[in-house]
């Protein structure tokens, strides 16, 4: 190796790239193992995936110093394609953790919805590998490729429900819009490359302001077009049309995955671009992002407000629209980064994203459990959940209050406070006001849902659940150990198994994990809020 040190061949720091690599290799392993496993034992694939993701998260440990880089240019300016710093680590943790929770949720959903196991796990892990690669990418090419690695498997995941028209329609919609966005991004990247002659973010940032004045328009257009594709990933308005349909059509864990990991990837890309590559063009993207944030949160919250609880899929629709609204809050500090202190603003976004990931996946986990019990996924199905399944109701209530930002969901409140603070510090008073109004709108529908959980159940449900409620009241969710997961695995071939209201193991673990994380964060918000003061990039 020493021979090559001065040559044109780049050295590879395998330890640094371990997290995405392990995820990708596990995906391949799952795909291959699928060929050799008899149908009855396909459940093992899920646990392979969970183990792989856990291993990938463990591989973050040796990197904690955050001072590694690899794929560096051996000649010319010092620039690296893959950098491990604190920002990378946090986002990788978020992406892999989110994927892990999704995998846990899917261990029950895959056999139950008769999804092809090998393909599912391969696609999920590939997408997770992309999500882990993206925050480390420091050149435009890697960034775009990573984004595509996140999204391409996601299209397939959305459409994986065989014979479901809604599912394939959602996948097609998602695919077409996403591909358009990617094409636009690529065009933007090519413009930026044409102006600066480099794809490395640091070099771009250096050369973009000093570019030939005659290329000014080209550079500006390039900046805007590049950002569009990433804005699409965060489901910012007006690139949000795919969200409700896609979430409804996708298997529920996948919807949760898209809302957290997919969104974080887009967001991480946006952060890298605006802070590292285009800091000189803040007069272009800062106002744009501010308007985008305001539009996104308003549209999302108003649409969520208008969901009728009796409609089919209203629960998933509401979660979808609320996730659009939350994306708006996530964008606020980015808009503030243009005017104020970028490091602190980015920190606010990261803190909020971490909170949102835990809480939203938790909400999806409970919804996954519930929708398995009654497939119409109406909000009105949640009426009286407390009577039928107290622990699930308490967990969901907690998550919804976190999303709303009310005690006992303290972390949701402080997440909003740091975002709000970022807006105020950057003198974006109007955006702060819009945000406050939106928080109030969101309060209404989150609270309505929460209140519904604790209302007395309707006649029909009481009759149906009478036999279950007695056993559930006592047992409930107490970790993975007791109560072998009933039905779904063994009954995969024999049509939809009749679910009791009990948690499947994977769902139980993910609900327990998210609840514990949520409570820990609410008790000690400093765990994530410290990013709002420290420097990440």
């Amino acid at each position: 190796m020493t021979v090559l040190a001065g040559g044109p061949v780049q050295s590879v720091d395998w330890l640094a790239i371990a997290p995405p690599t392990i995820a990708a290799l596990t995906g391949l392993a799952a795909l291959v193992a699928d060929l050799f496993l008899p149908p009855a034992r396909k459940r093992a694939l899920g646990w392979i995936a969970v183990g792989g993701l856990g291993l990938a998260m463990l591989s973050l440990l040796p990197l904690l110093d955050g001072d590694r880089d690899t794929f560096c240019l051996t000649t010319g300016p010092a620039a690296c394609g893959y950098v491990v710093d604190q920002f990378t680590l946090v986002i990788q943790l978020l992406a892999l953790g989110g994927a892990l929770l999704t995998a846990l949720l899917s261990t029950a959903a895959v056999p139950e919805e008769e999804l092809p196991a090998g393909e599912f796990w391969f696609l999920l892990l590939s997408s997770a590998a992309g999500a882990a690669l993206l925050p480390a990418a420091r050149d435009l090419a890697t960034l775009v490729i990573a984004l595509e690695v996140v999204s391409l498997p996601a299209f397939a995941l959305v459409g994986l429900r065989r014979g479901d028209r809604l599912s394939s329609e959602a996948a097609l919609k998602f695919f077409l819009t996403s591909v358009t966005a990617t094409a636009v991004t690529l065009l933007g990247v090519s413009f930026v490359y044409a102006t600066t002659g480099s794809v490395h973010l640091a070099t771009v940032a250096e050369r973009l302001p000093e570019a030939d004045p005659r290329l000014g328009t080209l550079a500006t257009t390039g900046v805007v077009l590049t950002l569009v594709g990433f804005a699409f990933k965060t489901a910012a308005v007006p690139f949000h049309f795919w969200v409700p349909e896609t979430y409804v059509g996708a298997p529920l864990p996948v919807a949760g995955y898209l809302s957290v990991v997919g969104k974080t990837s887009g967001l991480a890309g946006l952060i890298l671009l605006v802070v590292l590559a285009f800091p000189g063009h803040d007069h272009v993207w800062a106002p744009g992002l501010a308007v985008l944030a305001a539009l996104t949160m308003t549209t999302g919250n108003v649409a969520a407000l208008r969901q009728r609880p009796e409609r089919r899929h209203s629960a998933v629709r509401l979660l979808a629209w609320s996730s659009v609204g939350q994306a708006g809050y996530l964008l606020v500090p980015l808009a503030a980064a243009g005017a104020g202190e970028p490091a602190e603003a980015i920190g606010a976004t990261i803190a909020y994203a971490l909170m949102y990931a835990v809480v939203n996946l938790g909400a999806f986990a409970v919804a996954a459990h519930q929708s398995a019990a009654g497939a119409a996924r109406r909000i009105s199905d949640y009426r009286g959940l407390y009577g039928r399944h107290p622990l699930a109701a308490l967990a969901l209530g907690f998550f919804l209050l976190c999303l709303a930002g009310l005690p006992p969901g303290v972390i949701g409140l402080f997440g909003k406070v740091v975002v709000f603070q970022a807006a105020v510090d950057a003198d974006l008073g109007w955006l702060a006001v819009v945000m406050a109004v939106n928080v109030v709108i969101a309060l209404y529908y989150y609270l309505q849902w929460t209140a519904l959980l604790f209302r007395p159940g309707s006649e029909r449900q009481v009759v149906r659940s009478d036999s279950q409620s007695e056993s559930e009241l006592g047992s409930g969710l107490s970790g993975p150990h007791p109560a072998p997961a009933p039905g779904p695995g063994s009954g995969a071939g024999a049509g939809a198994p009749p679910r009791s209201g009990r948690f499947a193991t994977g769902v139980a673990v993910s609900v327990a994990l998210t609840v514990l994380l949520g409570i820990a964060l609410s008790g000690a918000p400093q765990l994530v809020l410290r990013f709002a003061t420290g420097t990440l990039l």
Binding site: F414, V418, A451, F454, L529
Partner: protein, 564 residues
């Protein structure tokens, strides 16, 4: 004063906040062997009594150990860093303003738990009931004990959830809409309040109430007038919803009418005080300039509330109006809290002391009144005045003399008879309005004072009418429902002629006669629950210095530079 060192004091205060919180979680667990009692329900209700009793004991210990020579100093202080990123600290402490409220809260919650133990709450599960009650206690105690603005907000919000469920799950008719209205009003108010708190905290650079209060002396205010004005508007709005100030009060009558007894007692006795406490603790010292600008408006609205509350009560107490006693007491609360707000709006020591005194007095008397009304409902099955009173009156004096006597005592105390607790607060509030702080328009406050004085007359009128209709009357009369539409105009009383107008054919059955005659008088557990309230009413009325000696130095400390 007990000789207790500072560390123990702070531990005691921390225990006051943590005990009910832990007790609330423990209430959800099955009872440990040995404490099972006669059944799970009884065991958990007893658990509630034990925990609230322990909290009360600790609070009394704290009150005894409190340095009464320096009530203006923050005592039993704990100051820990919680979220360095936002500079939010766990800062607990008590002074002369918060100590009485702490005692009141602990006492009323204990009495409520006792009440629940003897009268099983009508609702889903006793476990949930006790857990919510304890959570409510933790939230209210924390509100009075914290000295950090953000923690204050959190504690303020924590109270909403248990109260919502107490109303929605254990309430009476119309509970679901009432509970929803309650939570929407107070939440919207709190969101606005949070914005105000953030504004203050981010502009001043700290959320610490003590630091903010000292920074914002009249000499060198840290916050500009515009910021203070906005902060007072925003924080004041949230507090005013809770107090409640006219015209933001309309959630209160519904919530009170629908709430179970325990909910009503705590709502009136403790929760409303959080609003006025916030004015004294947060708004007055932190944004005095903004408050000075807005004080006349606050005084005006307070006086409108006084008059409006009493007129509404007068309308409810009329024969045939179908007035509900709980609703009537709720409206009377609007009037009483009007006096508290008026006292605060004067920005004088006299007025604010009066406000704090009226706060405590209202907590004691309204708590007692709600207990009495629930006792009445247990005996007669109704709180509807017309149903209770019939033609001549419900005749409690004749049928249950002790109950009637205590009811009359509470009503007279509530109308502000000198010698009972209700008098001093309203008197001092009006006195403060006679000579408001410098910079406030004296003529306006004189008008407010005059209107408030008229309000005391109206208050006396409706409370005496309540006594007339509930306590007096002919014990021989059979109960006859007065058709509401038939008696818009008060009919001449038809003494001793049973059911002539209402049901001419139906002769009163023996059982009805028996109902009319025999009402069980005060039972032992009721006596035990009400005695502390009666005694404290008398003590506060006859020896006001006990309370004023605590609040006055603290108020002088919070309002520096004001001569009176």
């Amino acid at each position: 004063m007990l000789p207790v060192d500072d560390t123990t004091m702070s531990l005691l205060l921390a225990a006051v906040v943590l005990l009910p919180l832990l007790g609330s979680a423990a209430a959800l667990l099955p009872a440990p062997p040995g404490l099972r009692g006669s059944g799970p329900e009884q065991a958990v209700l007893r658990h509630g009594v034990t925990v609230t009793g322990a909290v009360l004991a600790v609070v009394i210990l704290l009150a005894l150990a409190f340095d009464h020579d320096h009530p203006e100093a923050v005592q039993a202080e704990t100051d820990l860093s919680w979220i360095p990123a936002l500079d939010i600290r766990i800062h607990l402490g008590i002074d002369g303003v918060s100590l009485p409220l702490l005692v009141l809260t602990a006492l009323l919650t204990f009495l409520c738990a006792l009440h629940g133990y003897f009268r099983k709450p009508q609702g889903p599960s006793a476990q949930g009931f006790v857990a919510l009650l304890l959570l409510l206690e933790a939230g209210t105690l924390a509100t009075f004990a914290v000295l950090d603005l953000v923690l204050f907000f959190l504690a303020f919000e924590t109270v909403l959830i248990p109260m919502y469920f107490l109303i929605a799950r254990w309430g009476g008719a119309g509970r679901a809409p009432a509970a929803w209205k309650f939570i929407l009003y107070t939440l919207l108010g709190s969101v606005v309040m949070l914005l105000g708190i953030l504004l203050v905290g981010l502009r001043a650079g700290t959320f610490d109430m003590v630091a903010l209060a000292t920074d914002n002396g009249p000499d060198a205010p840290a916050l500009s007038h515009a910021v203070q004005l906005t902060a007072v508007l925003a924080i004041g709005l949230g507090l005013a919803v809770k107090t409640p100030m006219w015209p933001l009060h309309s959630w209160l009558p519904d919530a009170h009418t629908a709430a179970p007894t325990v909910g009503s007692v705590l709502l009136a006795g403790v929760l409303l005080k959080m609003g006025t406490y916030g004015f004294v603790r947060v708004v007055l010292p932190i944004a005095p300039d903004g408050m000075r600008t807005l004080a006349p408006y606050l005084a005006g609205l307070a006086v409108v509330g006084i008059i409006y509350g009493s007129l509404a009560c007068l309308a409810l107490v009329r024969r045939g109006a179908g007035g509900d006693l709980k609703r009537l007491i709720a409206y009377s609360s609007v009037g009483h809290m009007g006096f508290v707000l008026l006292g605060i709006a004067t920005m004088t020591h006299t007025g604010v002391n009066g406000a704090l005194f009226a706060n405590i007095a209202h907590g004691l008397l309204t708590g007692l009144l709600f207990f009495l009304v629930s006792g009445l409902k247990e005996r007669t099955g109704s709180t509807d005045l017309d149903q209770l009173a019939g033609h001549t009156g419900a005749a409690l004096y004749g049928r249950a003399p002790r109950l009637g006597g205590v009811l009359a005592f509470a009503a007279v105390g509530s109308l502000g008879l000198p010698g009972l607790a209700g008098f001093w607060g309203e008197m001092l509030a009006l006195l403060g309005a006679y000579e408001p702080a410098a910079g406030l328009s004296r003529p306006l406050f004189l008008v407010c004072m005059a209107a408030g004085a008229v309000g005391t007359l109206l208050t006396a009128a409706y409370l005496l009418l309540v006594v007339r209709r509930v306590c007096m009357g002919d014990p021989e009369e059979t109960p006859a429902v007065v058709p509401p539409e038939a008696s818009v105009f008060p009919e001449p009383a038809v003494p001793a002629e049973p059911a002539v107008s209402a049901e001419p054919t139906a002769a009163p059955s023996p059982s009805e006669r028996a109902w009319r005659h025999a009402l069980p008088d005060i039972r032992a557990h009721e006596f035990a629950a009400w005695t502390p309230l009666i005694v404290l009413t008398l003590v506060a009325g006859l020896w006001p210095a006990a309370l004023l000696g605590l609040t006055d130095p603290a108020v002088q400390h919070l309002l520096p530079g004001v001569p009176r």
